[in-house]
């Protein structure tokens, strides 16, 4: 049977993992004896493609044809790419998507294609290791990736011939690898210091689902910076000037020194440098720590910021229930001590920080393959539309069924009655037109809308579903900025059979549902028109001759009668006729009120208000 795999498509290295017959997640050895495949792709002049260690080693000779850190370009359009990421690459920015020009411009490749080459190798190695085809796959992405970057990652998976079950956030994968989802609830910090990037995420666990509360990071901070400062020191101590060639050799030496000092207090080695020179490296752990401390300390502010954004700034951040370390650079003892001091607790270190994300992805892939956990549907599309109940019990769909997750949509609503200060936001799920036939997800009241005439308040309702299927509903009154939110698991407790049943019902009842919707909506509209005309008669009745008034009142009577029937087309026709009959009245009222507002002023006073000040 094809086995599901999890892939950590990293900026510097990528890995693939699976869950074995004894339910243990395992990484696959992909590059020689290593589980880490350098995320490097070399486009050879002869048309061949090299991926991984071989490509990375050749990068110095063929810098333009060897794409490193392609993840930085995923889902990016021209203009999105940071100057510091451009490096020595040649970009083809004529289209709507960025392409990289290689082989003297003879070939141009998209970041999606480059990533697909890496994924293809991982897929092949996994199939070899498992002695059979691979099944579905979970890919991980940074928590801060936007829709375009996620889509690009998914496209790369598909291009590599993978059946992408879904994307999982890297910090969520790390938490899954540690089995943190088995706890009932909690807040966790994921500290990810890789080769060239630093990310910190604060996750909240509720009912087995992780939600990303906040993220922070530095896209150019990582273990490579440690190596650079150590290498520069080694060169200086050996009285060698820092040429690019020597620096490269020294960086390799620094890597060895740094890794050794993780486990021992002192190291003294000789390293051969290009050109027959020998670099004598003698360093204690204290020396190393003094060198890298400034780099490590650059992560502090980012972590505190993420805690603040997650609303956990109090108590010195001691509010998290666990800290997970990700990325090879977190093996460094100084980093671990530093993390402990920021979050006020010992980080989890049982799992290899290089493989923890891939292991978590494998756990998730396996769970999806075996039919999901807790009977929860884990899909990458919204299984049933998400909507909000409106006046009269009809449902306005905000996010439509089959939208790709993550999805987000905003719609504006207004008040129904004069002086209305609250609004009930009732979130519903389903395809039916009336709230009573949909599934209720959550309900809250937005309070504090300033009293104003009906229809003037502007309340913005936003629905967003994140990669983990969590629905966040927020309502915001735009003049005051008051806001209220709620979060729900959009698929909670819903089985595939139930989704199916709800769909079938919506089709069976489509005709009557829509008719009822029209009826409810036009009755409300009719009621609104009658009320506003009647209050206008009281205020400005003198603007109408008795004949004119009788003319309008006749229409109102007709509308009222129509509203007692189920004939929605008749109601609509009467609304239009009432509207038409009262048009002249509405114009006269408008003129009267403008005249009143302007009375006692000269027209040029108003003109002055719109004139620029220096023009007066």
């Amino acid at each position: 049977m094809a086995r599901a795999i999890g892939i950590d498509l990293g900026t510097t290295n990528s890995l693939v993992a699976y869950v074995d017959d004894r339910n243990r997640p395992q990484v696959v050895v992909v590059d020689g004896k290593k589980a880490l495949l350098p995320s490097a792709v070399h486009y050879r002049m002869d048309g061949g493609i090299e991926v991984g260690g071989a490509a990375k080693r050749g990068a110095a000779e063929k810098p333009v044809d060897t794409i490193l850190s392609v993840k930085r370009f995923m889902g990016r359009g021209p203009g999105d790419i940071q100057p510091e990421d451009r490096g020595i690459y040649h970009f083809d920015e004529t289209g709507s998507l960025v392409k990289l020009a290689v082989n003297h411009g003879k070939r141009s490749v998209t970041p999606v294609e480059v990533s697909a080459e890496i994924l293809r190798v991982l897929k092949r190695r996994a199939a070899e290791h498992l002695s059979g085809p691979v099944g579905g796959c979970v890919l991980t992405v940074p928590a801060y990736f936007d829709d375009a970057q996620r889509q690009a990652t998914k496209d790369a998976g598909r291009l590599a011939g993978l059946d992408v079950f879904r994307l999982v956030n890297e910090p969520t994968a790390a938490a899954l690898a540690y089995g943190l989802d088995k706890r009932s609830q909690g807040t966790f910090a994921i500290y990810d210091l890789g080769g060239g990037t630093f990310d910190v995420s604060i996750l909240k666990l509720t009912d087995g689902v992780f939600e990303v509360l906040s993220t922070g990071g530095d896209t150019h901070l990582g273990g490579d910076d440690f190596d650079r400062v150590v290498a520069e020191r080694l060169l200086a101590e050996n009285d060698l000037s820092s040429s690019p060639m020597l620096l490269r050799g020294a960086i390799a030496a620094a890597q060895k020194v740094r890794e050794a000092l993780t486990y021992q207090e002192m190291i003294e080695i000789d390293v051969d440098l290009p050109g027959g020179r020998i670099l004598r490296a003698k360093l204690s752990r204290d020396d190393l720590e003094a060198l890298i401390r400034p780099v490590v300390e650059r992560t502090t502010e980012t972590c505190l910021g993420a805690l603040r954004d997650a609303g956990l700034a109090q108590n010195g951040g001691k509010k998290v229930d666990g800290v997970v370390l990700v990325g090879g650079a977190t093996r460094t003892p100084l980093v671990r001590r530093h993390v402990k001091s920021i979050f006020g607790q010992e980080p989890l270190t049982d799992l290899d920080p290089d493989t923890v994300v891939a292991l978590g992805a494998a756990v998730q892939a396996d769970a999806l393959d075996k039919g999901g956990r807790d009977d929860v549907l884990l899909l990458d599309v919204i299984p049933l539309s998400l909507g909000v109940e409106m006046m009269g019990g009809v449902v306005e769909k905000i996010i439509l069924r089959n939208s790709t997750i993550p999805a987000s949509a905003t719609q504006q609503f207004t008040t129904y009655a004069d002086g209305q200060t609250g609004m009930v936001v009732h979130a519903l799920q389903g395809e039916r037109e009336l709230a009573r036939d949909c599934r209720s997800l959550a309900r809250f009241t937005l309070k504090g809308i300033p009293p104003m005439p009906a229809g003037l308040a502007r309340v913005e309702i936003t629905y967003s579903v994140d990669a983990d299927g969590i629905l966040a509903v927020s309502a915001k009154e735009l003049t005051t900025g008051i806001e209220q939110k709620i979060q729900v698991k959009a698929t909670y407790g819903l089985s595939e059979d139930e989704v199916e049943r709800m769909l079938v019902e919506s089709i069976e009842h489509a005709g009557e549902d829509v008719a009822e919707r029209f009826l409810v909506e036009w009755r409300i509209e009719g009621e609104r028109i009658i009320q506003s005309l009647e209050s206008a008669f009281q205020v400005d009745g003198e603007l109408l001759s008795p004949d004119e008034r009788a003319h309008i009142e006749k229409r109102i009577k007709g509308l009222r009668e129509a509203m007692t029937t189920d004939d929605y087309l008749a109601i609509k026709a009467w609304i239009e006729s009432t509207d038409g009959a009262s048009k002249a009245f509405a114009e006269r009222r408008m003129n009267k009120h403008i005249a009143r507002a302007m009375a006692g002023h000269r027209v040029d006073e108003f003109a002055g208000q719109v004139r620029p000040p220096d023009d007066q």
Binding site: N402, R517, W522, L569
Partner: protein, 109 residues
Amino acid sequence: MAAIAISEPAARQIRALLVQKGTPQGGLRVGVKGGGCSGLSYFMDWADGPAKHDEVVDEGGARIFVDPKSALFLKGTTLDFQTSLMQTGFVFKNPNVKTACGCGESFTI
């Protein structure tokens, strides 16, 4: 009868946009939802592929996906692509419509 007919200009436009988006296997999802000033309104979105139960209309590579509920209200409709001085875009020509709002995006059946 197909859930929706596609006029030749609309088909050309869909094919071109699918190529431009780099998703030749995808298609245009069209449908009807409650809302808008006349009760029902059309919606459109790009999709990577048809969802379960979708009706798929393929006009020489121009693919349209319609969910079964929307198909009920779109029966007999032609999706056209019009270019005029005022606007350029896809237009639904739906014979089921009894009244429509001024902008043509919302209708009553």
